[in-house]
């Protein structure tokens, strides 16, 4: 074990790989954070659509979810990277492709989380809100979602952790995230143990602190 290889390349690994500052399009955080935010927004719509009464809203949402949950993410990235430009006949930037693929893919999972979160709020809450004269939209916005959100936190964080680690799959299209950065360094230095151990620790620190923060958030958001 010789960790000088890590010390020598730490700026590349952290700045380029984790944060996305450098010569290459990349950065684990730079992809994971917008992807979860946008994916969550899309996921809310999908989750709501899955609960809709009208079949022509519900069924497409269901198909969407089932489809994307049945396909490996690598395949989705691949399709977005190659097929869409082929159809549109314009090359797309890697970052845009990677982000779109993640958002579209994650939205299927996040949509399920949103749906479960909403369903976990007692039915009586919606009835109580409607019977005080709130519109369905107001009921959703002021009463159901705030509660659902709290219930969703554990599942959301788990998903975020998954996404955070999955960004490494974007390397298939040359996106330089933490794993890819380690791979690049490894290609040059051939010290896989030290490098992979190091990124395992970095991943672990990031995800573990995320799940700790989530637990704190959950407790803070529990009234009383």
């Amino acid at each position: 074990m010789d960790f000088t290889v890590v010390a020598k390349n730490i700026d590349f690994l952290i700045l380029q790989g984790l944060l996305g500052f450098g010569n290459f399009v990349g950065g684990t955080f730079r992809l994971a954070i917008p992807a979860i935010v946008l994916g969550f927004i899309l996921g809310i719509f999908i989750g709501l659509a899955r609960l809709a009464r009208t079949p022509w809203i519900r069924i497409p949402a269901m198909v969407y979810v089932e489809f994307f949950r049945g396909v490996p993410l690598v395949m989705v990235i691949f399709w977005f990277w190659f097929i869409i430009p082929l159809l549109l006949r314009v090359p797309l930037p890697e970052y845009g492709v990677a982000l779109t693929a993640f958002v579209v893919f994650e939205a299927a999972y996040l949509g399920e989380i949103v749906r479960a979160g909403i369903q976990s709020v007692a039915r009586g809450q919606a009835e109580a809100a409607m019977s005080t004269g709130l519109t369905p939209a107001q009921t959703m916005g002021y009463v159901i979602l705030p509660q659902a959100l709290r219930n969703m936190i554990p599942a959301l964080v788990t998903q975020f952790i998954v996404l955070f680690k999955d960004t490494s799959l974007a390397s298939i299209i040359g996106y330089v995230d933490l794993t890819k950065a380690a791979e690049i360094v490894n290609n040059r230095e051939i010290r896989p143990f030290e490098l992979y151990l190091f990124i395992a620790v970095v991943y672990w620190l990031c995800t573990y602190s995320m799940s700790r923060y989530a637990r704190y958030l959950e407790r803070r958001l529990t009234p009383g």
């Binding site: 290459f24 190659f82 082929l86 791979e183 690049i184 360094v185 290609n187 040059r188 051939i190």
Partner: protein, 261 residues
């Protein structure tokens, strides 16, 4: 066509690898450099600029064995400049430029290994790179070998170093690169005759003769002017990234490729 597109945008996009020194790799300064990148930058780009009548900028995207053909097909890149062997079946999908490097497959073994070449690998565990022509040839010519395919060099080399496999086969030049980088270069040997012929060419979209002409002209002018050999010297010469002198045969082959004006 590609030329029209380049004329319009002023950009040539190439696909290259980040991890196959010295053809294309990320160096210690985190710059993306290498032999095949230099060829494009110094030989093809000037010809191209002349052809379209304005300066052309170079852009690089990463390509890997599974993505390089789709990258071309989807117009994401215009030219693949990496260690891609020109084969007949690949010519069904893409066109190739002139050959810019020639090598052949060999074996990397621990010093003192009984493996001496493709004849002596029956029953042995052999690592190869996923998607490479070598894996395919081993399968056909030495069906008794136990083949293991790894997606990248370091993983395959690791498997070899740990004894998971008995040998790693790849293009001789790649093995030489690997050996030079290894923590203990003297502990390794590259053995066997070339059991395959691996001419590297640059791939481009099929049926785009004009663009191919420009690429080939660039290479030929480089060969004519000797600049091609200077670049080779820079990367493969005694002071280069990976010393690997060009044999007289290959040098002749290169020169013969450059047809008269």
């Amino acid at each position: 066509t590609t030329l029209e597109k380049i004329a319009r945008t002023g950009v040539l996009t190439i696909g290259a690898r980040t991890g196959s020194p010295p053809f294309a790799f990320v160096d210690a300064q985190n710059q993306w450099v290498g032999f095949s990148i230099d060829l494009v930058e110094q030989l093809i780009l000037p010809t191209l600029s002349k052809k379209v009548g304005k300066p052309v900028k170079l852009e690089k995207k990463e390509s890997t064995p599974p993505t390089r053909i789709p990258l071309l097909a989807s117009n994401a890149v215009d030219l693949i400049a990496e260690t891609m062997t020109d084969t007949r079946s690949r010519r069904d999908s893409v066109d190739f430029s002139l050959t810019f490097f020639v090598t052949g497959a060999q074996f990397l073994v621990k010093k003192g290994s009984p493996i001496k070449g493709i004849k002596s690998i029956a029953g042995r565990r052999v690592a190869a790179q996923q998607g490479s022509t070598n894996a395919r040839i081993i399968r056909e010519q030495a069906p008794k070998a136990q083949l293991r395919e790894f997606p990248d060099q370091p993983a395959a080399f690791q498997a070899l170093a740990q004894g998971q496999v008995d040998t790693y086969t790849n293009d001789g030049i790649q093995l030489a690169g690997l050996k030079a980088k290894a923590p203990n270069p003297r502990g390794w040997e590259i053995v066997g005759d070339f059991y395959s012929y691996e001419p590297y060419g640059m791939a481009l979209r099929k049926g785009d003769a004009d663009f191919r002409g420009v690429v080939n002209n660039g290479l030929m002018e480089g060969i004519d002017s000797g600049k091609f050999f200077d670049i080779y010297e820079k990367w493969f010469g005694p002071k280069g990234e990976l010393p690997y002198p060009m044999s007289p045969d290959i040098k002749k082959f290169m020169i013969y490729q450059a047809v008269p004006k």
